[in-house]
């Protein structure tokens, strides 16, 4: 029963926010924050039920799902805190200043909590059918959020997102059905797509069907996760969405989609694990290549962050392909937090400068020192410069990968670092162009919003130092 709370609560809050928020936007924002807090509370309560045996076939808590829910919940809490201050500013500086009509706040907030509910459902489902339904629901719930600014570009991004992801989700369903054909439960057992049922029957698996099922699930969920050849929708959606939505898309939704692949891996018989691992590593490396290539020539700083998500999802796939699962999960959490910090700052810069073009943003150190420092620090953190926690996880990965693969990964990570640092230093340095800013007010507002990313940066640095300390101790 406890499992239902974090899933149902946000879903039930959605109509409340919608009705209450129609009167005053303050009510919508407060209720959003309250929902986030309650969800965080519910998630903490789940830790007590973590080891309890799973009774239900459909919902249950396991360490993996709980980790993903925790990341999602933390991200949502931070984001709704940010939204509390950001939404009125957005109306003033991003809507009014450009003569645009933004999505109304009560609608935006109620869709956000629906999105939270669907992501929680993904993480807590114990059945491939339900997992698939939940992933589909995340797509439907997140699509309108991309269109917050109601510009032609954001509509195009939303359409692309829906069209491409719907195909991916269709492929995942095909894979899920094939999984049902591949794994025949022993005679007499109730047929079903539950993880426990399929996991218990994984010795009677039909290898050819399982391979086909894995390929389709991998293609479907991998598309949603932004792995390389299927990533085309991701930079558009993540750059057109308002930054706080980009945070959730990049930091939470991609993890949830990855969870779909991990669940299929979970029922793979040991003999087929190497087949699956080959796919994970190959597409992971391809994602790194694509991300490095597109980051180096990037002219849009939010797209740069989106490609960095492609890069880290690739790394995550490699982690699991090399059976470094625990390190991979730490990497997942750190990436989510760091990406949240970076996207929030990018949103502040966008609000102050009114452009996503790297060329037009100059002299941030001069005009918005706090934002500029954090922007540069975030870049170093995401690239895995020590004391970033990502340094430790990536070091372990390279160590594990061996000469050839490890060398390739290092080279690509270095290319990403070069590309990102060039972009970031171009933005923070130099002389400020006078026509770039929306107004001094917007700049000041953006500076005020910098505290949350600042806190995150300190947390991440602390976590990273601890990890490195720990790691040194093990050497």
């Amino acid at each position: 029963m406890m499992v239902l709370i974090p899933i149902l609560l946000p879903a039930l809050m959605a109509p409340v926010i919608w009705f209450a928020g129609r009167r005053s936007s303050l009510a919508a924002r407060v209720l959003l924050l309250v929902t986030a807090l309650l969800h965080a509370g519910g998630t903490i309560a789940l830790y007590r039920w973590c080891d309890a045996p799973m009774e239900g076939e459909y919902l249950g808590v396991d360490p993996l799902g709980l980790w993903v829910v925790s990341i999602t919940s933390l991200l949502f809490l931070c984001v709704s805190l940010h939204a509390f201050f950001w939404l009125p500013m957005a109306r003033k500086y991003e809507g009014g200043a450009h003569g645009r009509s933004l999505m109304s706040e009560h609608l935006f907030c109620s869709i956000l909590v629906c999105f939270l509910s669907t992501m929680t459902l993904v993480a807590l489902s114990r059945n491939f059918g339900l997992l698939w339904v939940a992933v589909e629901a995340t797509t439907l719930a997140s699509a309108p959020l991309i269109c917050f600014h109601r510009s032609a570009g954001s509509l195009e991004a939303m359409w692309k997102y829906l069209l491409i992801c719907s195909v991916g989700i269709g492929l995942a369903l095909f894979g899920t059905l094939m999984l049902g054909v591949a794994i025949q439960p022993p005679v007499g057992a109730e047929p079903g797509l539950g993880f426990t049922v399929l996991g218990a029957a994984c010795n009677t698996v039909n290898p050819a069907w399982f391979k086909a099922a894995f390929i389709f699930c991998f293609a479907g969920y991998g598309l949603k996760m932004g792995l390389a050849p299927f990533h085309t929708w991701l930079p558009d959606a993540h750059s057109e969405a308002p930054s706080m939505v980009s945070v959730l898309l990049s930091g939470a939704l991609l993890n949830c989609s990855f969870l779909g692949i991990v669940r299929v891996l979970g029922v793979a018989p040991a003999s087929l694990r190497s087949f699956c691992n080959g796919y994970l590593v190959a597409f992971g490396v391809l994602s790194l290549v694509i991300a490095a290539f597109f980051i180096i020539r990037q002219s849009d700083y939010k797209r740069m962050l989106a490609y960095s998500s492609v890069e880290h999802m690739g790394l995550l796939a490699i982690f699991f392909g090399l059976d470094e699962e625990v390190t991979g999960l730490i990497h997942m959490g750190v990436h989510s937090l760091t990406k949240m910090m970076l996207f929030l700052i990018a949103g502040n810069i966008l609000m102050a400068c009114g452009t996503r073009s790297v060329e037009k943003v100059r002299g941030l150190f001069e005009r918005m020192p706090r934002t500029a420092w954090l922007w540069a620090a975030g870049m170093f953190l995401i690239c895995g410069t020590p004391p970033s926690p990502l340094f430790v996880t990536e070091l372990l990965l390279v160590q594990r990968a061996g000469w050839w693969l490890g060398g390739t990964i290092l080279l690509l990570l270095f290319a990403v670092f070069c590309g990102m640092s060039m972009i970031v230093f171009r933005m923070v340095g130099g002389k400020a162009a006078p026509e770039c800013a929306v107004s001094r007010d917007a700049e000041r507002a953006a500076e005020k919003l910098a505290w949350l990313p600042g806190v995150l940066a300190v947390l991440l640095l602390g976590w990273g130092s601890l990890l490195i300390w720990n790691f040194m101790g093990r050497l």
Binding site: L140, R150, G153, L173, F174, L177, P191
Partner: protein, 235 residues
């Protein structure tokens, strides 16, 4: 497996090829509706009539109702609303499309031959036919320009998945009907076409800005024009 069942699957393959060849949208939608009806017939003829389970009758009714009647009607409505009749300049011509679909069918049968027949019952032919229908749908999504044809393509893709589910997953009961949830996407696409007037490739944007979202062009915020307010919030 009955002879009727084979006939239904063969008819499915024929509809795929017809879809690739037709340029009139109304014609396309009618063929998709026919596919929906075939999907409704399939669960009833897989086994002999006396073995039909009540679940299968339910599946059949749902398939006919949603895929055979409701979605085609909605598509026709959206077509009228958006005022498009034909797909005039597809990326891939019609005769070439037929050849492509035939090729895809060949590939599907090859893939189907690689997989051993499933342990229990099910229809041997369902897998390749389903796969070729999926590929045809994906091909339509990629090879056609207009949003509404892409929505039709997605519906065909989805019909392929449902065909697979109905053909092979008899013993799983209503799990098969998960595919119905994919129809929500078709609904969303239709709504997008009808309400947001996404007729074709974002034609409300000037032709030179068609690829606004890309990696090599510098992003420009200034030219982002305000959209027409959707009808639902036209207050």
């Amino acid at each position: 497996m009955t002879a009727w069942c084979e006939a239904v699957l063969a008819a499915f393959l024929l509809t795929d090829i017809m879809l690739a060849a037709s340029s009139r949208l109304l014609h396309c939608i009618r063929i998709v509706a026919a596919q929906g009806l075939l999907l409704g017939i399939l669960p009833l003829v897989i086994r002999s009539w006396s073995e039909v389970h009540p679940d299968q009758i339910w599946i059949s009714l749902v398939n006919i109702g949603i895929k055979g009647v409701a979605l085609p009607l909605l598509l026709i409505l959206a077509m009228k609303q958006a005022n498009v009749r034909r797909e005039l300049e597809p990326f891939v011509g019609y005769s070439l499309s037929v050849v492509a679909v035939l090729g895809l069918t060949g590939i599907s049968f090859w893939v189907g031959a690689q997989l051993p027949p499933p342990v229990e019952a099910g229809v041997r032919l369902a897998m390749p036919v389903a796969f070729s229908t999926m590929l045809t749908g994906l091909f339509m999504v990629m090879a056609r320009r207009k949003a509404i044809t892409q929505a039709i393509g997605f519906l065909i893709f989805e019909n392929g998945i449902t065909l697979f589910g109905t053909g092979l997953m008899i013993e799983y009961g209503l799990v098969v009907e998960l595919g119905i949830l994919l129809d929500v996407f078709v609904l969303v696409f239709v709504m997008g076409i009808a309400l947001f007037q996404i007729n074709q490739e974002f034609e409300h944007i000037d032709a030179d800005k068609l690829n606004r979202l890309g990696d090599w062009s510098a992003p420009d915020e200034e030219d982002a024009e305000a959209l027409p307010t959707p009808a639902e919030e036209g207050r």
